[in-house]
C-alpha cells in the first residue's frame, strides 16, 4: 500500500456531487469500484491513487489519524474535530462549494444584545438572576469554546445539540445557539438573529492533507502530480 495515495471524498449528497464535478472539470474522473453503493473508488487512469468514500466528519477524523493522505471535507469539521489543527493537517485548497457560515445567534427579542461584548455583559446579570450560566446549543463544542474565549465571553455553558439546533431557544433547552447557516432563513423562522461580530467561521469544502499520514514511498510525488491538475483552470 505504500506506493499509493489515498484520497477520501464525501460519500453522499451535494458534497459528493460537487466534489466529483470539481475533479472532473480538471480532468480527473472519480468512479466507484464494484457496486454503486460501495465505498471504494479510483481516479480513471491513476493506478496509484485509492479513492475512499466516507462521511464528511469521518474524513476529518481520518485526516487527524493519518489513515488517509488527503480528503475533501468542510473546514468547519476539520477545525472542530482536530485540536492543534495546524500541526495535524494542511489546508491545500478551497473548493468553492459547500459554503456554510458558523455563527452565534441569539433570540431576536434580546434588543440589548448585538455584540459578543453585550453577551458577556448580559451573561453576568443572567447568572445572578437565574442562578445558572447561559446555555449555548451547538454541535461545534471546540470552535465555540475557542471563539468565545477569544471574544472574552465566559458566562456560558455548552449544551451539545446534534440536530434542530435552531429550535432550542424557543423550546427552552438553550438560550442561544452556534450553528451553520447559508441563507439565514431557518434562523429567522426561529426568531434568531446573528450577532454583529458573531461570524465564527466562513466555511467551505476544502482539500486537506494529513501531516500524520505516511508520505514517503511515492505518496508525496503523486500528490504533486494530482495538485497540479487540481490547481489548473477547469475545463
Amino acid at each position: 500500500m505504500t506506493e499509493t495515495l489515498t484520497i477520501a471524498v464525501p460519500s453522499k449528497g451535494r458534497l459528493m456531487e460537487e466534489t466529483s464535478n470539481f475533479f472532473r472539470a480538471r480532468g480527473l474522473n472519480l468512479q466507484k469500484i464494484g457496486h454503486d453503493r460501495g465505498y471504494q473508488g479510483e481516479i480513471e487512469g491513476y493506478d496509484d491513487i485509492d479513492i475512499v468514500y466516507l462521511s464528511a466528519s469521518e474524513i476529518a477524523y481520518q485526516l487527524k489519524t493519518g489513515q488517509i493522505h488527503m480528503g475533501v471535507t468542510g473546514e468547519d469539521l476539520v477545525r472542530e474535530n482536530i485540536i492543534g489543527v495546524d500541526q495535524k493537517v494542511e489546508f491545500l485548497k478551497k473548493l468553492g462549494f459547500g459554503f456554510a457560515d458558523v455563527v452565534v445567534a441569539v433570540p431576536d427579542c434580546w434588543l440589548d444584545v448585538h455584540t459578543m461584548a453585550d453577551l458577556e455583559e448580559m451573561a453576568m446579570e443572567f447568572r445572578r438572576r437565574h442562578k445558572r450560566r447561559l446555555k449555548v446549543a451547538t454541535k461545534y463544542m471546540n470552535l465555540t469554546r475557542q471563539f468565545f474565549t477569544k471574544k472574552a465571553v465566559a458566562g456560558y455553558r455548552i449544551v451539545e445539540s446534534l440536530g434542530a439546533t435552531e429550535g432550542t431557544p424557543m423550546g427552552g433547552t438553550a438560550d442561544l445557539i452556534v450553528d451553520i447557516t447559508s441563507t439565514g432563513e431557518t434562523l429567522e423562522a426561529n426568531h434568531l438573529r446573528i450577532l454583529d461580530d458573531g461570524l465564527m467561521l466562513k466555511s467551505e469544502a476544502n482539500l486537506v492533507a494529513s501531516r500524520a499520514a505516511e508520505w514517503s514511498g511515492g505518496a508525496a510525488e503523486i500528490r504533486l502530480d494530482i495538485m497540479s491538475k487540481l490547481n489548473s483552470d477547469p475545463a
Binding site: 446579570e125 443572567f126 455553558r157 455548552i158 431557544p169 426568531h191
Partner: protein, 408 residues
C-alpha cells in the same frame, strides 16, 4: 500513553515518602483525612469555572448521558465533601487534608487570555496525571489567623521533606475589591471590572472602553427607543420595550423576561449619557496593580495611594497589617517574600489572600505549592450562604522533581 515520558513519572518510593511525610504533618496539626472521589460531576466545574475547563480537563459522558470529569484539582471535591456533610449534620467548621491524583489535559489551547490555574499546572508539559496534597479550612474562623495558619502549615510540610530554599509570593484580591469599592463610579461598571478581574486582557479592554466616550452603533429606531426610556420609570420603560417588540412582530422567546431586557437597555442608555471614567481613577487602578514589593512595605505604599486619591481604605489596610503582624509572630520569614498586587488573578474562585511557594531563583516556573481564600465557592456550589474557606495544595510531582530524591 505515548505522551507520558519516563521523566514525568517520579520514582514511586520518593513519591510515597513525600506523600506520607506531608500527610503526617497535616494530621499532626489536627486536620482530618478525606478521600474525595476521583470522578466528579462535570456540571460542578462547568457552572463554577465555565467552559474553559473543557479545554484542560477530561470530560466524558456515561451511558446515561451524564457528564463526568476526572478531577482537575482537589479543592472543589473537598468542598463537595464538606457540603455533603453539612446536609447530614450541621458541620459548620471543618479542617480537611487530602492527597491524591489530579488530571489535566496536556495540550494547551491558545486563548486570548490565559485562564490556566497557577496553583496546579502540570509539572511537565505532557503530564496528564499529577499528585497533590493539601489542606482546606471551612467555616467561620478569624480570617487572618486561618490564612497565616494555612501558609505556616504548608511551609512546615515542605520543611518536613527537606525543602527550605524557597520564595513566597503573595497577593490579596480583597484589597483590589476594596479599592474598587472605594472609587466612585456607576455600580454596573464596578461589577464589570470586578467580574473580569481574572481575565487580564479583557479587564484592560474594559478599562479602555470606560475611559472613552460611549458610543452605541445602534440603528436609528433602537436609538430612539433608548432615548425614550432613559428618563422613565422601569415600568414605563418596560411597556415601551414591549410595544417596540410588538410593532416589529418579534416574539419574546427564551428564559429572559421583558424586565431583564429592559433593565439592560436602561443600563446601556445610562452608559450613553455617562461621562467616561476619569483618567485619575483609571490611573489609581493601574498604579495599584503595578505594586510589587516586600509585604511589609506594601502597607505604606497603599496608604500613600489612598491618601493621594482621597480614598478610604482603612478597613482593608487594617486587615492587611493584621495579617503581616500574625505572619511575623508565627515566625514566617518574610525576607524571601514578595507581595504582587496582580498575583492571584488567574484562578477564578479566589477572593482574598493568595500565596504561592516557589523554589528559590526559579520564579513562577518553580512553584511547588499555592493556595488562598475562596469565600464564595461553597455558596455557588449549593450552600445557602457564603462560607469562609481557605486552603493550600502542594504539587507532589513537581516537588519530587525538584528535590530529586536526594534529601530523603
Amino acid at each position: 500513553m505515548n505522551d507520558m515520558s519516563a521523566s514525568a513519572i517520579p520514582d514511586l518510593n520518593t513519591m510515597k515518602t513525600l506523600e506520607d511525610k506531608v500527610s503526617k504533618t497535616f494530621e499532626k496539626a489536627g486536620f482530618e483525612h478525606i478521600d474525595p472521589a476521583i470522578m466528579q460531576p462535570a456540571d460542578v466545574y462547568l457552572q463554577q469555572i465555565g467552559e474553559a475547563i473543557r479545554g484542560r480537563t477530561y470530560v466524558f459522558s456515561d451511558i446515561n448521558g451524564d457528564e463526568l470529569c476526572l478531577r482537575p484539582d482537589l479543592t472543589v471535591p473537598a468542598a463537595r465533601v464538606y457540603i455533603e456533610r453539612c446536609e447530614e449534620q450541621s458541620a459548620e467548621k471543618a479542617r480537611y487534608y487530602y492527597s491524591g491524583p489530579t488530571f489535566r489535559y496536556p495540550y494547551e489551547e491558545p486563548t486570548s487570555s490565559d485562564e490556566e490555574g497557577e496553583q496546579s499546572a502540570p509539572a511537565h508539559g505532557n503530564t496528564r496525571e499529577f499528585r497533590q496534597a493539601g489542606i482546606e479550612i471551612f467555616g467561620k474562623e478569624e480570617k487572618e489567623k486561618a490564612e497565616v495558619e494555612v501558609l505556616k502549615l504548608t511551609l512546615e510540610a515542605l520543611k518536613e521533606v527537606g525543602t527550605t530554599d524557597f520564595n513566597i509570593r503573595m497577593g490579596d484580591l480583597g484589597l483590589f475589591f476594596a479599592l474598587l469599592d472605594a472609587i466612585d463610579m456607576p455600580d454596573r461598571w464596578r461589577k464589570r471590572l470586578a467580574e473580569n478581574f481574572w481575565r487580564h486582557e479583557d479587564f484592560q479592554n474594559i478599562l479602555t472602553q470606560l475611559s472613552e466616550p460611549h458610543n452605541l452603533e445602534y440603528e436609528n429606531e433602537l436609538r430612539s427607543l433608548l432615548k425614550k426610556i432613559i428618563n422613565e420609570s422601569p415600568k414605563e420603560a418596560e411597556q415601551h420595550v414591549g410595544e417596540y417588540l410588538a410593532a416589529k412582530a418579534i416574539p419574546l422567546i427564551g428564559a429572559r423576561t421583558l424586565e431583564e431586557i429592559t433593565n439592560q437597555l436602561i443600563a446601556k442608555a445610562a452608559d450613553l449619557t455617562s461621562e467616561p471614567l476619569e483618567p485619575e481613577k483609571i490611573d489609581i487602578i493601574k498604579k495599584y496593580l503595578e505594586i510589587s514589593a516586600p509585604p511589609k512595605a506594601v502597607g505604606a505604599r497603599l496608604q500613600d495611594l489612598a491618601e493621594t486619591a482621597g480614598l478610604d481604605l482603612t478597613k482593608a489596610l487594617d486587615r492587611y497589617q493584621k495579617r503581616i503582624e500574625l505572619l511575623s509572630s508565627a515566625d514566617i520569614d518574610l525576607g524571601n517574600a514578595e507581595f504582587t498586587a496582580e498575583f492571584g488573578r488567574k484562578f477564578e474562585y479566589y477572593t482574598g489572600f493568595v500565596f504561592q511557594i516557589e523554589k528559590h531563583n526559579m520564579g513562577p516556573e518553580g512553584h511547588i505549592a499555592g493556595g488562598g481564600r475562596y469565600d464564595h465557592l461553597l455558596h455557588s456550589l449549593g450552600l445557602p450562604k457564603n462560607i469562609p474557606a481557605i486552603g493550600a495544595a502542594i504539587n507532589l510531582d513537581r516537588l519530587a522533581a525538584l528535590i530529586d530524591g536526594d534529601v530523603l
